[in-house]
């Protein structure tokens, strides 16, 4: 009965994969969601029915081929079904970041000309209604949670469940249309459109075809031997390409189960209950988790602290080797087994990572200590390098070849090349079709032979074939004296200190480098408490002279390690300022995926940059901030600027 793998490879669309799963593994769980305190679950056959009835519902609303359907909300099975149902009727799903403010939302919805919007709840519906004036194409809004929406005009507003019921009622009328629409989907048709957060300028709509998604899912699933028994927790934004590949592409390809948390705040608890076997999180998440563990260990009893440090030291020594399959002495193995019983096992369980067989992190560089910590306690954490335009995968680390300083070898089917300027290019089956309504950008990014510019500068290690990324290509520059300037490289080094949440380094075309620092309130706040430092606000803590001293120490350490590097010794930081506010995506300083938007920051804080270079010891500044509800306010502060003496490069000392 089960179709062979080769047969599966001929499938042209996601709905075909769902039908295949519903036939071959009808009773295996497909989606789970925690609601009303218990895990609700849908098998593949039930999920297929939900998708069908919604697809029929879409037909009753008159969804036509090629229509765009926007989806705004947190990860919920219903939204995954919506995307597959949209594909089933020939429409194109466009998941949108749920925390997007009205202004960003109006751009995206208008740009793709969405006729239909699926919104999670009253909050999202209100947001869409607010901008409705500017959206000429918008016809219908469908919502999941009817709470508080009793008094809304229902003319063009539909309850998700009612729409499904309407679909079920008109099955006779539309079942043929649905079947023929499904049959007509070609491998080259659009599978999904995803807006990239865009570190510069407006977001761009990346069009990925069925071919892109299915081939990528196939290759990456076999790379890590993913199968129907795996399970994942879907908690990352649905608008991000990774979530689409994990929770739809790979899930439908292999038939594994996707679980959705009860709500955003319960994610950690739900993670523990589900115990995923396949897990992705950005470095920031692993950093935060480790910081929490360390903070809590400091409050633990002396015996516990001793056990923890004793066994963690041992784990640092051999944990990674064990995971990589290197030989380890019997005594060490025995000691590790005892540690497993008392420390590593319970710790993994508390973190919710007990069952992780394949764990990935990507997006930013991860600190070597952080990376090693997780690997040493037996979590197979690896790195990958990817982007939306590649349907995620460009390079990834195979089991047994895991290191914190590379991003791995080319993923199956991916070709890599480094241009003369040092920029990384790739070509793969996952390479995107085009940017929506933007032939100019498409041309700039993808050449006629299909090579795509990543915008990152890097090199391939000759011995191992591993790719190493230095920085964003456009950010890499020269200093006044001709030294190489790679801001991200320096920033990452600084961000490995738990006290530093975010930082921005300047120096292109200048005599020396300077930095903005954002402290981590969690870590620094805890440190302040232990050191009896009183503060009443973030701003006050950030400006405290002891905090300045601490950050200065971190910068000195960073400068020392930079001095050892011939290429980057010019990037040592001479002056810095601790910012009075956290850089925030709502203020446009970070992207929604929390990457620094250098140009915006340079523009907004130009007064601070001037002060960093004109030798003043403090500066008064006023900054506009946007609150969560969209209203604006201003905060003002006088910030101190600190000097750091750079380290003289070894061998060059006079």
């Amino acid at each position: 009965m089960a179709a062979s793998k080769s047969e599966k490879s001929t499938f042209a669309s996601i709905p075909e994969l769902v039908a295949f799963n519903a036939l071959n593994i009808p009773n295996s769980p497909a989606y789970r969601e925690k609601e009303y305190g218990i895990w609700q679950s849908w098998s593949w056959s039930e999920a297929a029915e939900e998708i069908d009835s919604l697809a029929l519902g879409f037909l009753t609303l008159g969804v036509a081929k090629g229509d765009y359907i926007a989806i705004i909300g947190r990860n919920r099975p219903h939204f995954y079904w919506s995307m597959i149902a949209a594909q089933s009727v020939g429409a194109i799903p466009v998941p949108v970041y749920q925390d997007a403010v009205a202004e960003e939302l109006v751009y995206v919805l208008d740009h793709c000309g969405a006729k239909f919007v699926l919104a999670e709840n009253q909050e999202q519906v209100d947001k869409v209604l607010e901008i409705k004036q500017g959206l000429k194409a918008l016809e219908h809004i469908i919502f999941l949670d009817n709470r508080g929406m009793r008094k809304y005009d229902r003319a063009n507003l539909h309850d998700f469940k009612d729409l499904q019921n309407k679909g079920r009622d008109s099955e006779k009328k539309f079942t043929k249309t649905l079947a023929s629409r499904r049959k007509a989907i070609k491998s080259s048709d659009v599978c999904v459109m995803l807006y990239t957060s865009g570190t510069t300028g407006r977001p761009k709509g990346v069009i990925l075809s069925n071919h892109n998604i299915i081939k990528t899912s196939e290759a990456s699933s076999s790379f890590d031997k993913l199968n129907a028994n795996d399970n994942v927790l879907a908690y990352l934004p649905m608008a991000w390409v990774g979530d689409f590949i994990f929770s739809i592409g790979q899930a439908c390809w292999t038939g594994f189960c996707v679980s959705c948390p009860e709500n955003t705040e319960t994610m950690q608890q739900d993670l523990k209950e589900i115990g995923p076997t396949y897990f992705f999180a950005p470095p920031r998440y692993f950093e935060g988790l480790l910081t929490n563990v360390m903070i809590r260990m400091e409050d633990a009893s002396a015996v516990k602290q001793f056990l923890f440090s004793y066994f963690m030291d041992h784990a640092q020594k051999i944990g990674g080797n064990l995971l990589d399959g290197h030989s380890v002495s019997v005594i060490d193995k025995l000691k590790y087994a005892i540690g497993q019983l008392f420390i590593y096992g319970p710790l993994r369980n508390t973190l919710g990572l007990s069952n992780v067989r394949v764990g990935y992190t990507a997006g930013e560089a991860i600190g070597p200590e952080i990376f090693d910590f997780y690997r040493s306690i037996g979590i197979n954490l690896k790195q990958l390098y990817g982007q939306t335009e590649a349907s995620v995968y460009i390079t990834q680390q195979p089991d047994g070849q895991v290191r914190s300083d590379t991003v791995g070898i080319a993923s199956p089917g991916v070709e890599l090349k480094i241009s003369d300027s040092g920029e990384v290019f790739y070509r793969s089956p996952g390479t995107f079709v085009e940017y929506f309504k933007n032939p100019k950008s498409t041309k700039e990014t993808k050449d006629a032979e299909g090579w795509v510019a990543t915008g990152d500068a890097g090199f391939i290690e000759a011995e191992t074939g591993h790719l190493r990324i230095i920085d964003r290509a456009k950010d890499v520059g020269k200093m006044e004296d001709g030294h190489l300037f790679a801001p991200k490289y320096v920033e990452n080094k600084l961000k490995f200190f738990p006290n530093v949440l975010e930082c921005v380094v300047f120096g292109a075309g200048r005599k020396f480098c300077t930095a903005f620092i954002n402290i981590d309130l969690n870590a620094v706040g805890n440190w302040a408490e232990r050191n009896n430092i009183a503060y009443s606000s973030y701003q006050e803590l950030a400006g405290h002279k002891n905090v300045y001293e601490m950050i200065k120490d971190h910068i000195n350490e960073t400068n020392e390690s930079l001095a050892d590097d011939d290429m980057l010794s010019g990037c040592q930081i001479h002056r810095f300022v601790i910012l009075h506010k956290e850089l925030d995506a709502d203020d446009g300083e970070l992207t929604r995926t929390r990457k620094v938007r250098r140009r915006v920051i340079e523009d907004k804080f130009h007064d601070l940059i001037n002060a960093l270079y004109d030798g003043s010891s403090e500066v008064y500044t006023e900054t506009e901030v946007t609150y969560e509800d969209g209203t604006k306010g201003a905060i003002s502060a006088t910030l101190a600027i600190a000097d750091v003496t750079p380290v003289v490069q070894k061998g060059k000392a006079a």
Binding site: Y36, G37, R150, K151, E262, N263, T266
Partner: protein
Amino acid sequence: MTATDSYQTPDGRTIGPNVMEMRNISLRFAGVKAIQDISFDIHEGEIRAIIGPNGAGKSSMLNVINGFYHPQEGEILYKGEVRKPMKPYEIAYQGIARTFQNIALFKGMSTLDNIMTGRLTHMKTGMLEQIIWSGRAEREEVENRAFVEHIIDFLEIQTIRKTPVGRLPYGLQKRVELGRALAAEPSLLLLDEPMAGMNVEEKEDMSRFILDVNDEFGTTIALIEHDMGVVMDIADRVVVMDYGKKIGDGTPSEVRNNQDVIDAYLGVSHD
């Protein structure tokens, strides 16, 4: 408007006939006159507020409605019948639930367990059945748990389901207390200063929950509140008290323009 009429609110809701009527209530503690000759009514489905400066007798009034205090004079009609003096638990069985000004939760118990106690009036199995965990007792427990989980979902407190309430911040404790009152499926919900001590954001959240409760479950709500702004925004009709007397009664805009009310709140110059 006569006492028994239904009426339409400006935002288009239809309010039913009156469910409770106070007739010439007077309450004294020894020589102190806490409430003097007050009459007003509460209609089905409305949000009715009682406001007034400190010591005006608001909480006493709520305790009279609640049946905790028995007024020396006057009578209370509930669902058309004159109410005899009753014990608080008898009142609870009549479908009246309340929250307290100074939170009265079981601090050591979890959010979930606290809200479960609100289901007490809906449990029919006795202690013996509960101990031997008969089929009926188990079924009942499951049904009640499901009901409570809906309330947890409604109040968006999933994150603190298992947290002992003593560890929660004040605003959340107030929300848990509202949850416990809702668990009783009251037809009349009494809220004693639901926003006291809250910051602006917590007040906004609480206002939304009060409106949603009224909207989703059709619950009649009587609330006491200090914060004039909040009351004027969410109440359909307002009773204003001062020194134990009623000095105003009507819609928020009527009350706002009532000279006696303005005097009581802003003070009058005695010259």
